[in-house]
Structures are given as structure tokens and as C-alpha cells.
């Protein structure tokens, strides 16, 4: 009852602790009635709610306990949320087991996969001996590259880099790889791609080519078999007229190990997931990829719905973009690579070798002048290949079918020449007033340890660094080229025109018998008149 006091005479509450004078007293003066009122109030607070089974009394007790335990600041402002939390805490215990089972799989599965990367294989020692025989280690030093790019602010987090490093180790132990390199990362809508650029050992490539040839031969045999059946059926029915349309000849893809297919690419969505090999790229895919702009979803088998229709699925589109990016942005310091001396440069050779006499220029020069960098990947022609091929040259089978006449009628394909290998990047065209490349030094404060960084403006996300004899290219981005104008998709071709109207095929009513007779009479009259005129003329003479 008397909660305050004892008050001193000079305090404002003096006298309020006496019974009968407290501010709350004036409501229920009688002690008995007050006790009853308190009991009623408490009974009301103890009433259990019909909905939740809680009662206000226990709830208040829990809230006050929590507040006095934790003593947060400005409690009165957050009292409602505290109340909600206390209520929520009641439910947690009941639903605990169910929730735990649901949440465990996704997060921890992935953690298990990452952990699996760290496990050493049992046969490690044998692998190490083999590596010494082979010469240079195939495993790229991803962490070293990541360190250099980090000086420019480019790159993934250290953890992710290390996972990728270990994933490469797995790749090398599974596939017969001669050299391999971390090409970069392409982002997608649902998942991303981590890409490895690889050169397989020579024997392995030939085996694959044989497998591919066997497959194509088998397919041709199947087609022949089906064709024969169809012909038998067709002989029974009158054949509809065949269209005279011949599609333009398909440009053959470049052989494995040359041009756009010089390297083989493996991708995975995340380090720890299995590596998938991308198929070689065909010129038709590159030509089409130049005309469309699509986000990658992250699933290699996703279809690409576009116009012009892309000949392939996402794996092919990814491979085509990788080829374009490599051709456009893989650069090295000028002079690092040179043409081998025995090959003539006129052939547009595809091979290059390291120049043992290369002297790295100082970083300041590499940043100032773009002539210090050169492409070491051949550019892709409009045809979609690195080396131009004349599609009018047909195989012997076609010639036997008597199409020589048609060959002459086709337009002459102009030979396309691209820039030779090892061109300086200073000759790359810019777009409007934007140069094709931006060069910077990594730091201006400590010039003796800075490195030269190149950023491509045509393919945003492509970077290159050079420091002394070390250099590297990498790509982090969405996989699309930069265009100053908005992307305009190709328009569909105009609809087929109707056959032109000629008198020979326009409908006309047949002349009736009367009209024919009248026409005949008119003709005879005209003949008679002409004879009379001639007779007259003859008489005049």
C-alpha cells in the first residue's frame, strides 16, 4: 500500500505515505474491499486464454524477468517487441525437432562437399612422381594470380580462391591434362560458372576425335537407312514438288587444337561440384552469339530462346561467349611471345612460343603506352572462324550429284582476313570516344612494387595484369559485350511475297460463243477493209 517514503519534510511527497493520503488510496479506502479487488484483479490476470493457453500473469512475469535480466536501453520503446519475443520463445521448443531436420540439408551438404575437396587421395605419392617426369606442373598457381589481381581490387574472396585451387587439383587428377589455367567466372541468374581453360595431352585428343567421327558415321548410316525406307514409300505415292531452296552451306568448325577450338574448357557451378566439359564451338554458334544477348541461367542444358534461333543450348552459348572473350581480350606483354622461326608469318600461323630473350619493360611504360601489350589469341572473323574457309568448295559426293552449275551461280565469297596474331592492342578500335582498353597502375603511393593493370572496355569484366615476367588474364562478369547503343534484336525476315501477277496466270473469263463470233466477224471486216485499201492503192498506181 504505502509504496513510497518515508518522505522528509522538505520533499514534495511528504505525508503521502500515511494511510489515507497516498495518491492511489482514494479509489478503495476500505482495506477488506481493497484486498478483494486485488484478488479479483489477480484472478483476471490468471485467466487462461482460450486460444493459446497462456495467461497474462505468467506472460508479464516472463517479460519482467527478461527485462530485468537483460536490462536493455530504452526499454519502453521496444516493450512490444520484447513481448512478442517472449511469446515466440514459448513455441520454439515444440517445433524444434521439425525445423532442425528441414534446415540441415542445404547449408551443410555444401559444406561437406567443400570439405571433401580438402581430403587427400590415397594414391598421392604416385602422382607426384609422374609430375616430375612430365616437366612443368600442370596445376596453375591460382593463389598467386589472385594476389596480383587483388592489388587492383579484382578477384574473389580468398576462401573461394582456395576452393577453386583445390577443385583444379581434382580436375587434373581426373582428366589427362597437359596445361590448365583459371579462365574466370561468369555470373548467371540461378548459379554461376567457374571456367578452366585446359589443353589435353595429345594422345587423348585423338581418341576423342575418333569417337566423334564414329558417332557421325553411325548417324549418317542411320540417315541412309531411313532415307531408303522413305524412298520406297514415296514411289507408291505421287510426290509433291520439291522446293528448290538450298540452305547456305554449313561452315565447318575448326579442328580441335586450332583457332577457336585451341583450348578445351571445363566448367563447374561451384568448387566441389563435378567438372563438365564444354563441346567445341562451331562458326554458326559464334555468328549467332554475336546477334543475341542473353543472361546465363546457370544450368548447362537450359534452352536459349532467341531470334535468330541459337543452334544449341546454354552450354554451346557459354562456349561461344568464352571463345569471343578469349579472342578479344587475351593479351600479353609485347615480345613475351614470338613466332617460331621456321614458320612463315604470311600463313597467319596459329602457334607462338615464348621468347627466351624477353626483357620486361618497367611498369610505368606498360601503363602509359598500349603498344606494350599484344593479343596472343587470334581474332575471330565475321565467318565465325579464325582461319577463313571458302564454303563454295564442296566435297566430292556433292559434285557427283551434278551441282556444278549451281556452284557457279552462287556469289563469290570474299576472302576475309583478320589481324595477324600478336597484334598490338593499341590498334584495337574504340567505341565512339571510349578507348578499347584502360590501363592503370595498381598503386601510385608505392611505385616500386606496383603492377600494371589493363581493363577492357569492350568486354567489361576482362582484366589483365603484368608484373615483370608474370602476367595473366582473367574474366569476372556476366559474359556480354559492351555496346554504347541499346541492343536491337534482329528483325524477322519479311514474309514471303505472293507470286507476281502475270497475264499468263491471272484468271479471266473465257469468251462466250457470241463474243467469239463477233470477234471473228470484226477480224474479217478488218481484213476486207485492208484488201480494199490495197486494191485502191493498186488502182491509183
Amino acid at each position: 500500500e504505502g509504496g513510497h517514503g518515508p518522505y522528509q519534510p522538505h520533499e514534495p511527497g511528504y505525508g503521502l505515505d500515511q494511510p489515507g493520503y497516498s495518491p492511489y488510496e482514494d479509489e478503495i479506502p476500505d482495506a477488506q474491499a481493497r484486498m478483494l479487488a486485488i484478488k479479483n484483479a489477480k484472478a483476471y490476470l490468471l485467466k487462461t486464454s482460450t486460444k493459446s493457453g497462456l495467461n497474462l500473469y505468467d506472460h508479464f512475469a516472463a517479460i519482467l524477468t527478461k527485462i530485468l535480466d537483460e536490462q536493455p536501453a530504452n526499454t519502453v520503446d521496444i516493450i512490444e517487441t520484447i513481448s512478442q519475443d517472449v511469446k515466440w520463445a514459448q513455441f520454439r521448443k515444440k517445433m524444434d525437432t521439425l525445423r532442425d531436420e528441414h534446415l540441415i540439408p542445404p547449408t551443410f551438404e555444401a559444406a561437406e562437399k567443400c570439405k571433401a575437396l580438402f581430403i587427400k587421395e590415397a594414391g598421392e605419392e604416385e602422382h607426384e612422381e609422374l609430375d616430375e617426369e612430365m616437366g612443368e606442373p600442370a596445376l596453375p598457381n591460382v593463389m598467386e594470380t589472385a594476389f596480383y589481381f587483388e592489388q587492383a581490387g579484382i578477384g574473389l574472396s580468398k576462401d573461394e580462391c582456395y576452393y577453386i585451387f583445390l577443385a583444379f587439383k581434382n580436375l587434373i587428377s581426373v582428366q589427362p591434362i597437359q596445361t590448365c589455367r583459371f579462365w574466370g567466372k561468369i555470373l548467371g541468374l540461378e548459379m554461376n560458372y567457374i571456367i578452366a581453360e585446359v589443353q589435353l595431352r595429345e594422345g587423348e585428343e585423338e581418341e576423342e576425335r575418333e569417337e566423334e567421327e564414329e558417332e557421325t558415321v553411325a548417324e549418317e548410316e542411320k540417315e541412309m537407312g531411313e532415307g531408303e525406307e522413305e524412298e520406297e514409300q514415296k514411289e507408291k505415292e505421287p510426290e509433291p514438288p520439291k522446293s528448290a531452296y538450298k540452305p547456305p552451306p554449313e561452315i565447318p568448325k575448326e579442328a580441335n587444337g586450332t583457332g577457336t577450338n585451341k583450348y578445351v574448357y571445363f566448367v563447374c557451378n561451384e568448387p566441389g561440384k563435378p567438372w563438365v566439359k564444354l563441346p567445341p564451338v562451331t562458326p554458326a554458334q559464334i555468328v549467332c552469339a554475336r546477334q543475341i544477348k542473353k543472361f546465363f541461367t546457370g544450368r548447362l542444358d537450359a534452352p536459349i530462346v532467341s531470334f535468330p534461333p541459337f543452334p544449341g543450348n546454354e552450354a554451346n552459348y557459354l562456349r561461344a561467349q568464352i571463345a569471343r572473350i578469349s579472342a578479344g581480350t587475351h593479351v600479353s606483354p609485347t615480345g613475351f611471345y614470338q613466332f617460331p622461326e621456321d614458320e612463315e608469318e604470311e600463313e597467319g600461323g596459329d602457334t607462338y612460343e615464348e621468347n627466351p630473350e624477353f626483357e620486361p619493360p618497367p611498369v610505368a611504360e606498360m601503363v602509359e603506352s598500349l603498344a606494350m601489350w599484344a593479343h596472343h589469341v587470334k581474332g575471330i572473323l565475321k565467318q565465325g572462324r579464325c582461319v577463313w574457309i571458302n564454303p563454295a568448295q564442296k566435297s566430292e559426293e556433292d559434285e557427283e550429284e551434278g551441282e556444278e552449275e549451281e556452284e557457279e551461280e552462287e556469289e563469290e565469297h570474299q576472302e576475309e582476313t583478320g589481324q595477324p596474331l600478336l597484334t598490338l592492342i593499341s590498334e584495337d578500335e574504340g567505341m565512339k570516344n571510349i578507348p578499347a582498353w584502360t590501363a592503370q597502375a595498381s598503386t601510385n603511393l608505392i611505385p616500386e612494387y606496383s603492377i600494371a593493370i589493363l581493363q577492357s572496355n569492350r568486354w567489361p569484366g576482362a582484366y589483365a595484369f603484368a608484373s615483370g615476367r608474370k602476367f595473366e588474364n582473367i574474366y569476372f562478369g556476366w559474359g556480354h559485350k559492351y555496346s554504347p547503343e541499346s541492343h536491337t534484336p534482329a528483325l524477322p525476315p519479311p514474309a514471303e511475297a505472293e507470286f507476281p501477277s502475270e497475264p499468263g496466270i491471272t484468271e479471266a473469263a473465257d469468251p462466250t460463243v457470241e463474243e467469239e463470233l463477233a470477234f471473228k466477224a470484226a477480224q474479217e471486216e478488218a481484213l476486207a477493209e485492208a484488201e480494199e485499201e490495197e486494191e485502191e492503192e493498186g488502182e491509183d498506181d
Binding site: 587483388e150 581490387g153 544477348k293
Partner: protein
Amino acid sequence: MEALSLPAALSLVAGGGAGLSPELRAALGASLPLLQRDYRFERVWFWGCIQGVRGAYYIAQGLGPDRAAPRSRLYSLNCLDWSLLTPATEEMLALAEEVKGRFQGDPSFEYSLAEINPEAAARLVQSGKEPVMKEEARLIATIEQIDRAVGIVPRGAFVKTPLGSVHENRHFEGLSLAEAKKLSSYFHFTEPTNLKNKTLLEKADLDPSTDFLNSLEHDIPHGKGSWSIQLEKGGSVVVLRSLLWLGLTFYHVPMTKQFGYVYFGTGEKNLDLPFML
């Protein structure tokens, strides 16, 4: 992202390949607290970096007690010396829409409007100004556009008090994993425009203290949306990347209070988005 949690946050966002060099990180660690002291901000956020052709702009934002009030923005070319930017005006925003192409990297560069939009140039000449747009003004307008369009926060992270001001919710414990994968759990941190358009049923479920902003579900294009949601690091971080402004990355660690967004990009809107989906 919060200046204080910058290092941890940058490693969470690094999945896109963009980040800051150690030199810049160290410089930010030194200069952002000084900004807070000089301008008396309550919070300082590192907004991100816009790549120009010849250089990059690094942007920081300072917030006062009301987190939804217009923010002060500062830019720097080297993360050490910061200059305050004036607030964006509607006129600046309209002009910036016309100017296309990369930023040059030089704040005093002037875009000649006569080539781009003769009408706007004529209007400017009539009102007595030169028909040019300075790169600094374009920068201000672009940052404002990006914040309005794709600056996002998780649901429940901010509460609105009855007086109208917005504060961080100290009881925000993070979204659960299931919630974090849904677009409706994230809000645009700007003036809401379509809250009133919701049906009565939806409005009944809303909590006025936390649901006072637009959610991401209604971002055009409908259906697929303009966001890519991914779980990285084995599901321990949810990363949202905007497809409309390529380079905006938002991260959130579910069941914790950590979240933030940062922009590393060229400062150009991706107008080809409908063709690319």
C-alpha cells in the same frame, strides 16, 4: 555497407569479382571515421565505386538520425579526400537520363547537350545557363537513381516510429533461410509508391511498423523479376544481384544482423534487360 564492417562485408560480396585493393581498403578504414567526425553523421555507409574510363569514383553516404531522410553523399577519387555532393534535383535526373555512355572519370568533364538532346539544350540556353551537363551532376543523378531503383534492405530491419522517422530495428535477428530466398522479404529503401495498391487481404497481413516500403516482388519485368538470388558459400550467404543496374550486389547472412549493399560498376542502366531474360 556499414563502414565498420567493411572488410567482412567485402569478402561476402566478392563473388562477382569486384572489390577493393588492399590500399583502398586501408584508406577507407582511415578516412571514413574521419568523415563521420567532421560531418557528424550517425552512420557512414560505403556506397560503392563507379568506374569511369580514365578513373573511378568512390562514393560514401552519411545518415542522420532518421534513416529514411535524404542522405548526404560524398565522392572521392582516391578514398582519402572526400567532397560533398549536392542533393539531386528532378531536373538533374531528367537530364541524366539523356546522357548515355561511360563516365569519363574526370568530375569537371562536360557533356555537350546540344548533340544529345537539342530541346533540353535550348531550354537551358533560354533560362540563361550553358547547354552542358557536368559529369559531377550526372554522378549525383546516377547515384540517386540507383538508390531509388535498387537500394534494398531486408524486411524487418528498419522500423517506422509513430512520429514518422525510421530507425534500425534492434530486435532484427535476420531472415530465416526460407524467407531469405523469397523476393518478398526485401524492400526498396525509398518512398513507397504502391503500398496503397495492395488488396485489402494483403494489407491485413501487413505490420505498419515494418511493412512501410515497397517489396521487390513487383519489380518489372513481372514473373522473372530483375533480380538474381543466389545462395553462396554453401548457403551461408544470400546474395542478390540486380539485373537492371549491373554491379549492384546485396548480401545478407541469414539468422544474423549482417546485411548491406554495394555498387561496383560502370554506372549505366541495363536497358536491354527485357531481351536478356
